[in-house]
């Protein structure tokens, strides 16, 4: 349980979080966009995500083992399922909350469907989407710690080890960096969110 291993595990966690978050952004935003644009899909997607969101993250992780096995990739997939939710929800809500007058004039002035999405709807929803990404990032770090239980490695390994050995030093070697990572992400993404809000809305 040396520092070399701590470094390795930290990178593992960072890798897990980065990969999961990127995938979650892509899938979450797409899902949000689809359920916003395709009215018949709105309800089914919302119900599905509600079910997943109410399931505890650890349960998702454990439940995924029979289907996905153990290791890095299954862990990523299980984390993804949990992390998509805030991004998807915020994308959907952010798009849904755009004032109808804005969309109406955009269409009325002759924007095509795509122009409306990338010139109007998306920029207006971005601060809200960013808030979702922030929430998701923090959750993601939390689950990545748990993911070590299904053999994904990372800082959770130290925490698990520390707990079972009753070794506070080892426990903290896992807990402190992962907490720092979560706090860092929260602050950074929070800044990004505010910056976008200022840029797009001037407030």
């Amino acid at each position: 349980m040396g520092y070399a291993q701590l470094e390795l595990c930290t990178w593992q966690t960072v890798e897990q979080v980065t990969v999961t978050l990127l995938l979650a952004i892509i899938v979450g935003v797409l899902l949000g966009l689809i359920s916003y644009k395709v009215k018949p899909l709105e309800k089914p997607i919302l119900i599905l995500t509600n079910i997943i969101q109410t399931t505890p993250a650890f349960a998702v992780l454990v439940l995924s083992v029979p289907f996905l096995g153990v290791g890095f990739k299954p862990a990523i997939l299980a984390m993804l399922i949990v992390c998509i939710m805030p991004i998807f929800r915020n994308t959907f809500v952010g798009l849904k909350n755009i004032k109808t007058g804005i969309i109406e004039t955009s269409v009325g002035m002759g924007m095509t469907g795509w122009q409306c999405i990338y010139k109007v709807e998306f920029p207006l929803a971005i601060p809200v989407i960013m808030a979702g990404i922030k929430t998701s990032a923090v959750i993601c770090v939390g689950i990545s710690v748990l993911a070590s239980y299904i053999g994904a490695g990372g800082l959770g390994y130290f925490i698990r080890y520390g707990l079972s050995l009753n070794d506070v030093k080892v426990l903290l070697m896992g807990a402190v960096p992962s907490s720092l990572l979560a706090i860092m992400l929260d602050v950074l993404l929070g800044r990004a969110e505010r910056a976008l809000r200022v840029r797009f809305f001037g407030t």
Binding site: T100, E104, T105, K119, G202
Partner: protein, 310 residues
């Protein structure tokens, strides 16, 4: 724009057999109670609503033959909510349609400056502002400028001044009247405010329950209201409304040889209320009517009373 006729079915007929002809450079006001179909009628012109049956022609071309995107880029559009894009600057908002139409940057910038000056906002000051930094009146001005940006022949306006306070509204209405005289556009304007209609309209179209009740100039309608709905809608029993709707020439009578000679004059096209105002203000009881084909016409208290009395 030529010969518009459409019919709209949606389970029940929201609009029933609407036939309307709008001449070039005419200012048409669609007026009626909420839910009478005036906005729907307007939205069919830029294909935001598809007619169930019937056809709409612009310059003789059926708009179903025209690509909706293309059509909308050539029609100005202003609504009550204004719909300025909050993430774009005033300049970007105004230049939106020119940008969609692929104008070069230089031309777009020139157009933005030109329009900002036209609506009385200093380009240097306002170009880079965000809509959230503007007052309600300024926002609506920018909304109008945006509709004018690509110099469309036709402009659609849906209660553009509905959300403004009375003072700003009147100010903007007056500005719009001046602006419209200068730019010469065909305008379809939706409102439920009869004062607005009287102020702007070359032609007023009164709608009720998806049908056109009466269409014509304000004078025609006041002289000849079709039914009680029209009479009530325009509060025609209200003498002041009548005075505003009628023109000086409507009350003009020949000057009598042995009668008093008018000392002051007024243009024939002025509203009658103006004539009455001038007479009361100056304490006189007759005015010369200027600008008619006939010589020696005047308006008197009596002639005004005769035409406005029930």
């Amino acid at each position: 724009m030529r010969s518009v006729c459409k019919e709209f079915v949606k389970g029940i007929r929201t609009l029933d057999d609407i036939c309307l002809h709008v001449a070039r450079h005419e200012f048409v006001v669609l007026i009626g109670t909420s839910g009478c179909g005036k906005t729907t009628t307007m939205k069919m012109i830029n294909k935001l609503v598809q007619p169930t049956s019937g056809e709409i022609l612009i310059d003789g071309t059926n708009i179903s033959q025209i690509n909706a995107i293309e059509l909308r880029r050539n029609i100005g559009y202003v609504i009550q909510e204004i719909g300025l894009l909050p993430h774009m600057t005033v300049a970007q908002n105004i230049a939106l349609v020119p940008e969609l139409k692929g104008w070069p940057v230089r031309k777009r910038e020139e157009r933005v400056e030109e329009l900002l000056s036209l609506i009385g906002l200093d380009p240097a000051l306002y170009k880079k502002k965000k809509p959230s930094q503007l007052s309600g009146g300024q926002k609506q001005r920018v909304g109008v400028a945006r509709a004018l940006a690509a110099d469309p022949e036709i402009i659609l306006m849906d209660e553009p001044f509905g959300a403004l306070d009375p003072i700003t509204r009147i100010q903007l209405q007056d500005e719009l009247v001046r602006l419209i005289r200068r730019v010469k556009k065909t305008i379809v304007f939706v409102t439920h405010d009869m004062e607005e209609a009287v102020k702007f309209a070359d032609k007023i179209v009164i709608m009720d329950a998806g049908r056109i009740v009466q269409a014509g100039s304000i004078q025609e309608i006041f002289k000849n209201p079709k039914n009680d709905f029209v009479r009530n809608f325009f509060r025609m029993h209200d003498v002041y409304n009548k005075l505003r709707a009628m023109k000086v020439e409507d009350a003009a009578v020949p000057v009598l040889f042995d009668g008093p000679r008018p000392q002051h004059g007024i243009d024939a096209g002025e509203p009658l209320s103006r004539a009455l105002g001038v007479m009361l203000e100056r304490g006189i009881n007759c005015l010369f009517v200027r600008g008619t084909s006939e010589e020696n016409l005047q308006v008197t208290f009596e002639s005004i009373y005769r035409i406005t009395g029930q």
